[in-house]
Structures are given as structure tokens and as C-alpha cells.
Amino acid sequence: MLSSWFALLRMEWICLYRDRQAILYAIVLPIGLYPFLIFTLMQATSISQGLTEKLPSRILVSGPSWVLKHFSSQEFQVERTQEPERLRVLDRLQGGSVDAALLSSLSEEGHRIDLLFDSSRDRSIEAAGRVSSHLNALQRNQVIEWLIKHGIQEDELPFIEDMNVSSPRQMGGFALSLFLPGFLLVMATMAVSHPAIDITVGERERNTWETTLLLPVPLGWILGTKILAVVGMALLAVLLNLTSMSLSIQHLISMFQVETVDVIPRWSQIILLLATSASYALFMASIMILVASRAHHYSEAQSFVAPLYVVSMFPGFLTTTSNLCLDSTTAWIPLLNSALALKAIFSDSLPLGPFLIHLILSTCLALCLAGWACQVLRYRPLPKKGDS
């Protein structure tokens, strides 16, 4: 019995791994394309950031001359104006001829300085940052001068220093948890999509479905093996993706000489990641088989499953953009719980109870869907009316 099962699984894997499209999604893309894209993106970002940092900030200053002397460094290109019209200044900021404006005025509350900038332009954001840090330094110096004037010596002033207490591993985990959950889920979805279509409409188009049904084993075995092969494909994609991503990021870190970040996951994390990915892949594979089995031909099936890519992106997007975490409530929301579990695994903050809820729920749901998919596939090969 077991040897028949292995023979079925082996055949499915051989067929999948001789399929160029499956290889592209499960092996080539995870190994090559995504690390390449990240690397290119990081390089482009750092080049663009570097260019912005090199350029002087063009600021418009109105007010007393002591303000001006603080902005005389090479970082700034200062333009002084005596009678600023606020509307004209705003026009110039939005038009991009100046990057920031410092407008000084006297009101009932005292001396007031407004910092104006345009947050839709990188150069303006950079200028605002530079001006703010100069103003902060100015304020600090004023406080020190005032304290000394009132009899407190400079060496008695408190020394304030920021200290990051997270370990390199925690920092690495945090960095990975920001974007990798979404990536892994999308990769798993892409890896299951082609085989899911291939074993449904693909088999029917190639006329191999009846051949398979002639095998002297229960239908459940055949279908179970097919789904298992698809899940195996997804797990391979996840594992390869994780490895190549971690190595790429580690390489980038060493390039930027940031030594306080360790992004290589531990074995225990990898096992948990694979468990979560397996339940997710089983879930997605079953849904895709269900959806694809309704199609009449391959390209129709592709368009049927396309919306599922968007669905798979959404949980990853939510984990990146919100403060949601895996807890006893979110653990009950399918797909989102997988993304949050991955995030928690990466950031080493996995709550055991919600994780078990997520794992059991996802697996049970996936098995129910797989059972449904089996039922659908069982009746699909029946010929249409009049076909004899």
C-alpha cells in the first residue's frame, strides 16, 4: 500500500519537476528574481538618497540675523527675505524653487518660527529634516546657556544618550518581519497556482485524467497525492525564497557595514515557518483546485485563479502596514493568521496559544477544502450530456 502511495507521489513530483512553468515559479523565481529585485531596489534607493543628501537645501529665511548664522553651512543655500508674503512662499515651495522656508514673527505669545516644507518632494523632506536638527541644536544651546547663567556648571548637566537594547538577531527578525511574510505568502501562492491548474484542466486537456483514474488505487489516494505534491512544491518555493532572501539581505548588510543585524533564521524558526507555510499552501492549493476545476481550458483557469493572487497579497500588506499581531482574535481569521504567524515567527514573538489555534484552524479548513476539491475532481471527468 505504502509503496503504491510513494509511486504515485514520485510520479507527480517527476511530472511537476519536468514542467518548465512549475520550475520557473517554484525554483527560478525564488532563487533568482526576487533577491535581484530587492538588491536593485536597495541600490536604487541608496543612490537616490545619496544624491539628495549631496545637494544643498534651498531655504527661505525671514527674521532676525541671528537665525541666519545657524544656516551658513554648505548644507544650505539661504535666501533671505524681509517681508514675506505667506502665499508667495507657499507658491515657491510647491513650485519647487525653494525646499523649505523659515518664517520668523512676533506674536502675543512671543517670538515664533514656522518651518514650511512640501512633504511630497524628497528634497523638501530632506531640507525640513536638516533645518529641524539645526533648530533643535540651537534650542539645546540656548537651554545650556540659560542653565549656566543660573549657576549650573556645564559638567553638571545630564549627558543624554540613546541606546538600542535589541540584539542583532532581534533587529534582523524585526527587519524580516516587515516584508518577508507577504513575500513568502505570495511566493507560495504562485508556486501552487500552476500545479493546481495543471492537475485539473491541464490533465483534462492532455487526456490523462482517465488514465490516472484507471489506476488500481482509491481515488482519494490519487487526489490526496496530487494535492500533497502541489503543497510540496509550495514548501520548496518558500524554503528557497527564505534562503535566498536571507542571504541577499545579509549580503546587503555586509555591504553597508551594518554589523548589528543578523537575518539568518534559526532551525526552530524554519520549522515553524514551514509548518505555517504548509497549512497556508494546502489551503490555497485546495481553493485553486476548486476554482480551476470549474474552467474549461487552461487559460480560462489562469484567469479564474488570478484574483487569488490579490487575495494572497492582502494579508502580507496588512501585516506590513498595520500594528496587527497574532492573538486570540486574529488567529481565527484565515490567511491573515498565516501572515501574522509568519511575522511573529520572524520577530521571535510567537504566542503559543494563538499559533496553535491558527495552525489547527488553517489545517482543518484546508483539509475540508481539499476534501471538497476531491469531490469536485471525482465528478469532473464525467462526460457532458450526449457525450457517448
Binding site: 510520479m11 517527476i14 492532455r206 484507471l214 488500481p216 462526460p383 450530456k385
Partner: protein
């Protein structure tokens, strides 16, 4: 074979396909026939007669609406796995896995039919040699010609040396040479005691191969017997004339014999 039955025993087999808006199509209308060891039984009929549905039911790919059928003594509804182990089924809808080679397909099916180790290797070599497939045994099936694919399909279906062969238009799409080879192969199999049920709409093929024939039209069996018996019953000299006679009679509302 169990209980001394004919290798194929079909009784009042009926298949109704549900259609849209509650309409139903009766593809097989309660047919009965049998086929013994060392015999070739041909099911003849025009397109849509119910030949493929009948063969699919016998191969356990479809459930009958009513009636029974035994293949090598096993009930098709109750003992489907035993039935599949006892038969070779080949049709235009039993394709080959395109990414596997001929040898891999034979090994895969052999393993699933319970063969192991040297017995499997020996049987695979035997079938490759028997069907003259040695030269392309290592080529993926997607790269083979139609004739080569048909040989691999035959090899796939007989790898476990089953006693019953069910073939749906086995020479369809083959050139003259490949079709003649296939017919020779079927004759040899009959001589080795195999029970062969096959469908065709090529009259000459049926005449040259079949020991007994059944003429199927609109799901009903209009005549069955040896070639001579059918010609005598219809008062014709050729099978084609007998076939046309029966089909025309059926259109005029006569009852099947």
C-alpha cells in the same frame, strides 16, 4: 476468473445523463451481452451510439444508472479496484503523461499494479520488446508520433498482463501500417486466451477481427452474434449492408432484436 462467469457479463446496463433544465439523455438503454476468454467481441455503432459510454462503465470510469456488469467475475460497481486490476482499458481519452518516458510510464503502472523488483524490470523489457518500443523507450511521450504513442498506450494498459482487454477504437488516428500492426497484436492476444471487447465504426476492421459483434444505435443493441448470424438475420451479404439495414430499421421505429 471467479465462479466460471464469462470474462465480461453485461446485464440490462443503463446509463442516463442528467441535462440542463431537467432533461435527461439515455446514452445506454438496458443492453446485455457477454464476451468469453479467447474471443474478440466488437461493438459497432455510429457516433453517439453509446459505445464509449458502455466501455467507460465497464472500465469503472462511470457509474451505471441501473443494471449490472461483471468483469472477470468482479462487479464493476462494488469491486472497482479488482475490476481495474483485471482489465486493460484503452481509448482516445486515455492519454499519456507527456513528461514521462515510455519506460517510466510502464514502470509506474507496473508498480501500481503490484509488480516489484526484477519481475517489474523483466515485464517492462518484455512489453518494450513486444511492441517494438526499445528505440524510443527513453524519449518523453510528448515528443513521440501518434503511432508511437498508441504503442506506449497499449503497453501501459497491458503491463500487468490482464485477462480482459477493453479497447475503444484502438486504430483511430493510426496510419495503415500502424493499424495493421495493432490488429495483428489483438489477434495474437486472442490466441493467448484474452477476452477482448472493442468498439469501432470501421466495418472492415470488425469483419476481419471479431468473433462476435454487437450493433449499437441510440443506446440499444440492435443485433448481436457472429458475422454470419448477423448477415443471415438481416438478409445481407456484407457487414456494412447489415449495419445500414439495422440502423435504418431503428430510425423507422422497429424494436431491437
Amino acid at each position: 476468473m471467479r465462479n466460471g462467469f464469462s470474462s465480461i457479463q453485461v446485464s440490462s446496463l443503463r446509463k442516463i445523463f442528467p441535462g440542463p433544465r431537467g432533461q435527461e439523455t439515455e446514452a445506454v438503454a438496458g443492453i446485455s451481452f457477454s464476451c468469453k476468454e479467447g474471443e474478440i467481441y466488437g461493438l459497432l455503432g455510429p457516433n453517439g451510439a453509446g459505445k464509449t459510454t458502455t466501455l467507460r462503465i465497464l472500465a469503472t470510469l462511470l457509474h451505471p444508472t441501473s443494471g449490472t456488469a461483471l468483469v472477470h467475475g468482479f462487479d464493476i460497481a462494488q469491486e472497482s479496484i479488482q475490476v481495474r486490476k483485471s482489465l486493460a482499458f484503452l481509448s482516445s481519452t486515455t492519454g499519456l503523461y507527456p513528461r514521462l518516458t515510455a519506460r517510466e510510464i510502464l514502470e509506474f503502472f507496473g508498480r501500481l499494479f503490484g509488480m516489484r523488483g526484477s519481475a517489474l524490470t523483466q515485464r517492462v523489457e518484455e512489453v518494450l520488446h513486444l511492441l517494438d518500443m526499445d528505440s524510443f523507450a527513453h524519449v518523453p511521450c510528448e515528443k513521440l508520433s501518434t503511432g508511437m504513442k498508441q504503442r506506449v498506450s497499449i503497453g501501459r494498459s497491458i503491463i500487468h498482463d490482464p485477462p480482459v482487454w477493453i479497447l475503444d477504437e484502438p486504430t483511430s488516428g493510426l496510419d495503415v501500417l500502424a493499424a495493421a500492426k495493432t490488429r495483428d497484436f489483438l489477434r495474437e492476444a486472442r490466441n493467448r486466451g484474452k477476452c477482448i471487447l472493442f468498439s469501432t465504426h470501421i466495418m472492415s476492421e470488425a469483419e476481419s477481427l471479431c468473433d462476435r459483434l454487437g450493433i449499437l444505435h441510440e443506446g440499444a443493441l440492435w443485433a448481436q452474434g457472429s458475422l454470419e448470424e448477423i448477415k443471415e438475420a438481416t438478409g445481407t451479404r456484407h457487414l456494412e449492408d447489415a449495419f445500414l439495414h439495422l440502423i435504418r430499421n431503428s430510425s423507422e421505429g422497429e424494436v431491437p432484436t
